[in-house]
Amino acid sequence: MIILCRATLVALMLAVTAIAPAYAQEKTGLKPGFVLAPGTARIVLMRPSIRVGAQSTGGMYEPNADWTDQAKENIATALAKAQTGLGNSVVGYVEPVGAGSAKVAEYQELFGAVASSVIEYQFFKGNRLPTKKRKDQFEWGLGPDVRTLPGLDKADYALFITTEDHFGSTGRKMLQVFAAMARVPITAGVHKGFAGLVDLRTGELVWLNADMQMGGDVRDAEGADKRVRQLLEGFPGKPIEAPIAAAPAIASAH
């Protein structure tokens, strides 16, 4: 870069002295009155955004390519497994090439922006917008044009999934211990994720589930199962939670 500054002093200082915020937040939002009957809808899973890395002693994110690859594989397997419990068919999205790809990228960004707004201005009670204060006011959307995305004309819903993990390094955990002795609260690790369902006929966000402190180590299969279970908690139209072991049996019965 020629001119632009890379990091400001403020950002650096913040990274070091980050204090754990209290997440007294709701995690799930559902459009009032929305029901999704099992076996009626075709859901397309958009390309999930998955980032996995470590957190350095000073709090910096260290992207890790191997962990991310493992997580992508594990989450895909876990999703395929969980699908049987969702009550509707979920198919992966085939990304368009050429002109359509820019539009898809824009909608991915838009979903991210809307989801962050929901988390900030609705799930966090003390920060609610005046129009979102009452219980039945879950009104968010990407606009009706989302249905014009290439390849979505035959689908009913789009499912977006984002996860981000920064696993605390040994150095970070040691720092945490010493910091605790000095009565300075320091977090080790970032594990956040959200999943959202968009009605492709109206562009409305009908369901969003977000958690800033998710469980499950996405680097192994078991952890990924747990993560996906948490991501899809409260998914509309989901039959009563069955034990995971029983799911394949149901699938084979069809």
Binding site: L4, L12, A15, T57, G58, V104, E106
Partner: protein, 385 residues
């Protein structure tokens, strides 16, 4: 980017054996299809791959094949055919002077840069600098330096009472590290330029124009023009003055007298010049834009697009005296015979606001006649009736 240590040593050895013939320091050894192996480097490449997807699908990307081929051509002529093949080039429509290269080999050039450089050689100087960052793997070194710095600060803030001094000195070192890398990339870019068909003095020219524009912007905003030789503690780059000075000194020392190359910069920019000028005018930087226009006119003379842009610049500031000047610039542009319909639109609006109603309406009528399908046709029509 591609310098395994062995290769570097080898290059140094070859360099010393041929020292009698060539006093220039050797270039880094080039290696094709480099793949990162360490955890850190693989991580930052993965992130860069993701960002490149976004860049590739961005709406502000300039896809014009001719302009892309031109910029790539200049890069190839600067760093050499083999090196330039490893670069994916993206031109982004952002009206500021900047270019950057990601660790995985994607080069992003902002259109404000294309507007500001006046020749292939000046463009080559910047592209060579960016390629130098890539080849010397500066992103990785920067990442590691930041991590070490923040680690030290984190421990200091917990373990040492009044650790503020330590934190400041660590942060200072991180920025100093960044400035050293910029200087290193400047000199690597300079080496490319000196070995290319372009005169190496262009590298210093770029920074002199950047300083000139910064002065003009400051004066235009009623500030004070300031150029320091020494960068402040938190500067990520050496000062423009320092860069201009050491690059000028290097070019005098290199003494590379070259035959003048055919410069296609103006021709390649012709189609896009009005678009990029329009982006620049919208920045609301009267002093800087006026300097930029004069600088461009210094090379090509006051061409139609430059006159139209200058008219827009004065009309948008809109003092009574500016409107008179704006009308004159539009009229000069129209007098050249190849003015776009928008020149009549600008002229009409400037005249109307100068109380010359009849002349202004006549110019607007000409605009509507030349471009009946203009998006603002209805609005302009209301000004005539």
């Amino acid at each position: 980017m591609r310098i395994p240590v062995v290769g570097l040593l080898l290059a140094t050895a070859i360099g010393t054996s041929a020292v009698a013939a060539d006093k220039r320091p050797p270039l880094p050894t080039y290696m094709q299809a480099y793949t990162p192996t360490t955890v850190d480097e693989r991580g930052i490449w993965m992130e860069a791959d993701e960002r490149e997807r976004v860049q590739r699908d961005s709406r502000s990307l300039v896809k014009d094949p001719a302009l892309n081929a031109y910029v790539r051509g200049v890069l190839c002529r600067t760093v050499g055919e083999d090196r330039c093949r490893s670069v994916r080039l993206y031109i982004d429509e952002v009206p500021a002077f900047n270019a950057y290269m990601t660790p995985n080999g994607a080069m992003v050039v902002w259109t404000g840069l294309l507007l500001r450089v006046r020749s292939e050689a000046e463009l080559g100087a910047i592209l060579g600098h960016e390629f130098g960052h890539f080849e010397l793997r500066h992103s990785l070194k920067d990442f590691k330096s930041h991590r070490t710095g923040t680690d030290v600060m984190a421990w200091a803030s917990i373990l040492i009472r009044n650790s503020a001094n330590i934190q400041y000195s660590v942060v200072g070192q991180m920025y100093a590290f960044s400035r050293d890398q910029e200087r290193e990339a400047d000199m690597t870019g300079f080496q490319y330029l000196a070995r290319s068909q372009y005169p190496s003095s262009a590298a210093a020219d770029v920074w002199e124009h950047v300083m000139g524009e910064a002065d003009a912007t400051a004066i235009g905003r009623r500030g004070r023009a300031q150029h320091k030789y020494v960068a402040g503690v938190f500067a990520t780059h050496p000062t423009d003055l320092a860069r201009a000075t050491y690059l000028r000194a290097a070019s005098i020392e290199a003494h590379d007298v070259k035959r003048a190359v055919v410069d296609t910069h103006q021709a390649a920019m012709a189609k896009w010049l009005p678009v990029f000028l329009n982006d620049q005018i919208k920045l609301n930087d009267f002093g800087g834009s006026e300097y930029l226009l004069a600088n461009l006119a210094d090379g090509t003379g006051w061409s139609t697009p430059l006159l139209c842009a200058r008219g827009d610049l004065y009309r948008e500031r809109g003092n009574p005296r500016d409107l008179v000047s704006a009308a004159q610039f539009y009229q000069e542009a129209i007098g050249k015979g190849d003015a776009p319909p928008e020149a009549y639109r600008g002229l009409g609006l400037a005249l109307l606001r100068s109380q010359q109603v009849a002349e202004g309406q006549a110019a607007l009528a000409t605009y509507l006649r030349l471009k009946p399908a203009a998006t603002d046709a209805t609005l302009i029509a209301t000004l005539i009736s």
